[in-house]
Symmetry: D2
Subunit: 310 residues, 4 copies
């Protein structure tokens, strides 16, 4: 795929400049004040390869709120901790619904459709709070280990803001609890969940953190086994069918990579056996995905021929 | 991936023998008499590669009713005929619902979620009936060309049976028409749809017919362009997120290939840059997918390391 | 309640004049051309009592398309014909959904929530087509008998128009048939249904026709038993909980009478032990109920203290 | 209607004895331990008239958990307190759904369909907690005043039990809060709601308490105005279309009175201009309504010709 890293650097910068003016085509998430304050013109992109190359452009070293991208890490932690028991409590099917829809959760009797919609991520948060004595700390440590960077931090301002506007997530969590599918107390689950969403990381940190998913579960820098090859496969499969909210099908159709977006404007995409791409631009489309971030992934995937579907 | 074709033949036969007793774990489709009559012990599998190798086992040369597998071919015909206009009338998102659910179609105001659920396939059938003077004949010709086999035929017994039990599909079609999303007369659309579902083909014929999807749109035997590389990519993406009804996520999670099943017991899976696998065993699981057919695909995918997600 | 019939005549005329300018507050049904052509300024009202008094105002003798008001008569015919078997095939619960929603019909596995939503009325039409050798003629005869007026007729222009735009009703009917809840052929059911909807009657004719429901099943003019007291009770109950589409609760809350509206702009209300009120004004509100017609009923119900809830 | 009170006493006792063996046909509510402990053979009935007659049979003076019957009183309190502002926050339409369904609440964007489903009653509880400095005390005082009995009490055992199993109601409340339709803190709203549900009253106390609804808003004993005639009308209308959960239509169809049931096994029915009937028998049918309680109401309504629909 990628041969000439200098060439990629030039290409990436060019793609980014071409996209820069389009920040007006989306809308910065405003459901919590802390996110609404982010500068809509922020733009960054980073490609990290399993061979140790890193290419960035724009604000690729500026930390932003990772939000739902944290669901990927939480999922890996939960899979490692309780194994296949996890799949008794959450399915792995695309939802076919808006990401925070409570309707489907009722239909499915408290079993979330997959671990990357909000209900599923709350269930994963319950697993973590139930099985770690200090789940928030464990989560932060995991992120720091994966990114090889101890400066990764929790943005307390975002955390407080989330907590103050978390009624819908509380509704999802209580509904699951009413079906007996949540073990911990809800406030504890929500507190963990909002903590992991409030972690701030840069494109570069995120891309580095996820290389194990492109490398059969092994961190290519340390050679540490982060998860089994099978679980890396499973996470990639889930991200392919469900990672981009209710635009996942279109993303597969037009770009073709396992990916996950967050309402902070970040998007990560896994390229098996190659590396990870992370983009960041706060303005979102109607599905909650970064407009420019998605465009940049399309540019890169086409330029480098990265899709898994051909 | 595959190096030794003789070895594969042995493996395939062994997998098949191991699965043979499991036909009791599923239930042969009985919504129409013509399908209910099929012997539940039928079992076949075939691998065809873009390099011209074909390996089969069991009843791999026995024709069966292709049913929903025909949706793949109809989709390609419609894409070729009307181009991107198609995507104004049908989405490409996973449905998150049972394959013939009318609820989602109402929610989405007559626009099917994707072209491989029944509503979407009926919409594609409408495109074909509207844009071909003799759509059934055109469809059959397409199938014969792709399989390089003029013996492919329409099973009239199945067709009549479908027609007599087609009320639910009629409901879907009339609902789309009420939203202005169907051009032709409904009886004509249904007649086309049931005709394509009633085509009988063997595992070998099906595997050969779909090699173009593993080969960027080009028939590797004739070098004819069947569709653009982009459209081959798109079909594979849709099959990956939505091809196995409401078990598509689990199929991606555990096997990891673009695939499509039919209630006749057939399943096809595309392996990009490698080939096509087709399995057949009539007993279905609760999602409408062949129990043994899915198991055989899992065996082969694992043995040959075929998943697109690692 | 009503003592002075001359006084009522004056009051009714005054209410009508006060409402006359409000025809701009609604929208004439335009889903079929034949209804869209009706003059929006048409306005009429008629009160008929079981003691034989009739008071009218405005266009109360002008025939209009009775549309869904026909569901009341169809229901009575079906109850008379097959008795309690009817309630095996249709429920008597409010729908909580828009009147033509197909979603609920799928949920309830082809059993309509009540006989006055479209699905339920189509089921009733199936009963009539299955149990009368000439159901349309039987229906028309029933209407003429009840109104004591052989001039009641079917508006063929409306009928043709309905038939040409009946795709949604066809979808409902085919869906019920797919669940085995329709006996006749769908085109026959639809033809009957559109015929009864296309009957043209005036406020006066309608009010007279329904007196039996205010009189324990007995036509007060002829003393003929039209239905049992129990069935009159049941029809009134259904009209009270479900007769005004998804505004039935509000209608009960603010007016308090068993009632049924049609998209032709007619509304009938039963006042047990007193009589029937029929109003007509084509412009509809967002629920499909006549704006002025509803207002006139509110005026009369309050003036005469007619509500059943106090 | 009723002439001979001694005769009624005999009839009532006879109906009750005939129903007594049928307690096995239902199932005592077991979602909370405190309700599951109630003796399934308990049976009582009481008729109170606006003329001051009271006739009882069986355990009609034994207090039981009034549960959802409390919704009627909460509604009256809220209407009195904030007037028509209430109807900006809750509708008055039948729900067409199971009584605690969260699906509809999402569809309707946090506005409950009516004040007697759980979501609506929680909204009413929010009004009370927001507008009374001590809402629980105010509620209890209201109940004691209406029943002219200061012995009415809150069953703390039931309250604690409700609180411990209130996850589904919490989900409903948080969902409404996420739509901005709840003012108070959720734990406070739930605490009020579970308190009012946990009030214990006998058939006799309940029947006496609700006479104002049969008497245009006036307590016939004290002549105090409890609510306006219009609001009495409105409450009766809501109970008629929605008071018996998803069996409200059938109850209107077969019995024909404004009524409200609770999962404690109580049912109250309002007979305008006549009085109130209250029955009690813990075993419930699949809709959550008392089997025997409903039967007894049917007996009485037929015997006394009480229906409002004829």
């Amino acid at each position: 795929m990628i041969k000439d890293i200098d060439n990629l650097k030039v290409k990436l910068a060019a793609f980014l400049e071409a996209q820069r003016p389009l920040y007006t085509q989306g809308k910065v998430a405003d459901y919590i004040p802390a996110l609404a304050e982010v500068c809509p013109k922020s733009i960054g992109a980073c490609v990290a390869t399993i061979n140790g190359k890193v290419v960035g452009a724009g604000d690729y070293q500026v930390p932003f709120s990772i939000q739902s991208i944290s669901k990927v890490f939480g999922l890996v932690m939960a899979m490692n901790r309780i194994g296949d028991d996890l799949w008794q409590r959450v399915s792995m099917e695309p939802s076919g619904q808006a990401f925070n829809s409570i309707i489907q959760l009722e239909w499915e009797k408290g079993v979330p459709r997959n671990p990357v919609i909000n209900a599923g991520a709350l269930l994963v948060a319950d697993v973590l709070t139930s099985h770690f004595s200090a789940s928030k700390l464990a989560f932060l440590s995991f992120m720091r280990k994966l990114s090889h960077d101890d400066s990764v931090y929790i943005d307390c301002h975002v955390y407080e803001s989330e907590l103050a506007h978390g009624n819908r997530n509380a509704a999802l969590a209580y509904l699951m609890k009413s079906f007996g599918n949540i073990e911990s107390e809800i406030p504890e689950v929500l507190s963990h969940y909002f903590t992991q969403c409030a972690i701030a990381m840069s494109c570069e940190q995120l891309a580095n953190s996820l290389l194990f998913l492109a490398n059969k579960g092994i961190d290519p820098v340390t050679n540490e086994v982060i998860c089994s090859p099978k679980d890396a496969h499973r996470v990639n499969a889930i991200l392919s069918t469900s990672g981009m909210y209710d635009q996942s099908g279109e993303f597969a159709f037009s770009i073709g990579l396992p990916a996950k977006s967050g309402v902070g404007g970040g998007v990560i995409a896994i390229v098996p056996n190659y590396g990870v791409i992370c983009t960041w631009s706060p303005p979102l489309n109607s599905f909650g995905n970064s407009v420019i971030g998605t465009n940049l992934l399309a540019n890169l995937a086409e330029e480098l021929g990265l899709s898994i579907y051909h």
